[in-house]
């Protein structure tokens, strides 16, 4: 149990997936203009990330490793993620239309979110057990959501700030991300 907590804290704060591992920068910059959409995207990522990591771990251990076809990892994983996202979308549409309305538009975007594939591969590279995989992917999802929500909050304020014309938009957003990243460096000695 202690080990799980350490993995989660390390994934959320110390090795934050966005601010220190640079995975999932596209949605981080794209879906952070409004706080409400940031929350929606974050929840969708936590859900898909945890589910897809579990699935890719099972496929790696019970199919790819057993048959000795580890070199198909990239192809297999991206197909699993794409199919899973489609499947989740269909199930949500049918059973929980309210949730679908809230998260629906973010789901297709997740397929091309490198955080999902990245975490799935990291789990295999570090040869985590199934529980560690779950803890690590959940932690990374939470870390992504935390960074995204904080960033969206700052960007909403930036809308009203007086910014030099040429820095307006993406440049100032990236410089803000740099400052956030510096503050997350402060967690380095936490564990």
């Amino acid at each position: 149990m202690r080990e799980m907590i350490i993995i989660i804290i390390s994934a959320v704060l110390i090795n934050n997936i966005v601010l220190s591992q640079f995975l999932g920068i596209c949605p981080f910059l794209g879906v952070s203009k409004k706080l409400s959409s940031a929350i929606g995207m974050g929840v969708a990522v936590i859900f898909v990330l945890t589910l897809s990591s579990l699935l890719t771990w099972l496929v790696q251990v019970f199919i790819l490793d057993k048959l000795g076809i580890g070199y198909l990892q990239t192809i297999a994983f991206i197909l699993i993620i794409a199919a899973l996202v489609q499947f989740v979308e269909m199930v949500m549409k049918k059973n929980t239309p309210d949730l679908y309305k809230a998260l629906g538009i973010y789901l297709p975007l997740i397929t091309t979110n490198c955080a999902v594939l990245g975490v799935a591969i990291i789990n295999i590279q570090k040869s985590y057990t199934v529980m560690q995989t779950l803890a690590n992917s959940f932690g990374n999802g939470v870390g992504f959501t935390l960074a995204l929500i904080l960033f969206a909050g700052i960007r909403e304020r930036l809308e009203e700030a007086d910014i030099p014309e040429s820095l307006d938009g993406l440049p100032i957003a990236l410089i803000t991300a740099a400052l956030m990243s510096i503050s997350f460096l402060g967690f380095t000695g936490l564990l």
Binding site: L23, I75, I78, L79, N113, I121, Q125, S166, P171, S181
Partner: protein, 219 residues
Amino acid sequence: MSLFQEFSKGIVRENPLFRLVLGTCPSLAITTSVSNALGMGVAFTGVLIASNMVISALRKVIPDSIRIPSYIVIIAAFVSVVDMLLHAFSPAVYESLGIFIPLIVVNCIILGRAEAFANKNGVIPSFMDGLGMGIGYTLALTIIATIREVIGVGTFLGYPVMSASAQSALIMVLPPGAFLTLGGILGVINLLENRKKMKKNRNPQLSMKEQVAQPLSSN
């Protein structure tokens, strides 16, 4: 559009990283040194050219409704090939790029070129497009990496370029430096663009045209 234009548009005018702001993840993560940036650029260009050509050759065979999954499988196949080649022939680059080689699959530039160019054009224009975009991306990565490596550790491609007394700013090779460099470069590009626009507005010929156009549009 001539073949040369297909090639040259990716380098400056439609530079995938600086102008279209696509493929940002690797551009931030692996630009801690120039050699990493070049390695990533070559791997990326190889995958882009190969996938562009194959997708363009198969564009009449692949049904429209399943084109995205088909593209992803084609791209993933080439990424696996590049992954194995790098592992075999340059293990040092393979080690330092690490997870970002398999992640070329989800680099939006490659899928973007497949969707925007290769499925509408022939094999040879697609090759030129892939080559141009690949070189443009490599160039952009190299620029970011040069700034970070020179300021951060005072070397270029491993050779010391700063005087020994100059204090290097380690923060540039840490994660914050990546965001800072890309933000700064995009800011400078915007600045240059705004200047160009202002010059154009001051150009008398253009303003005369506008004056002529205005009464016409009001009619």
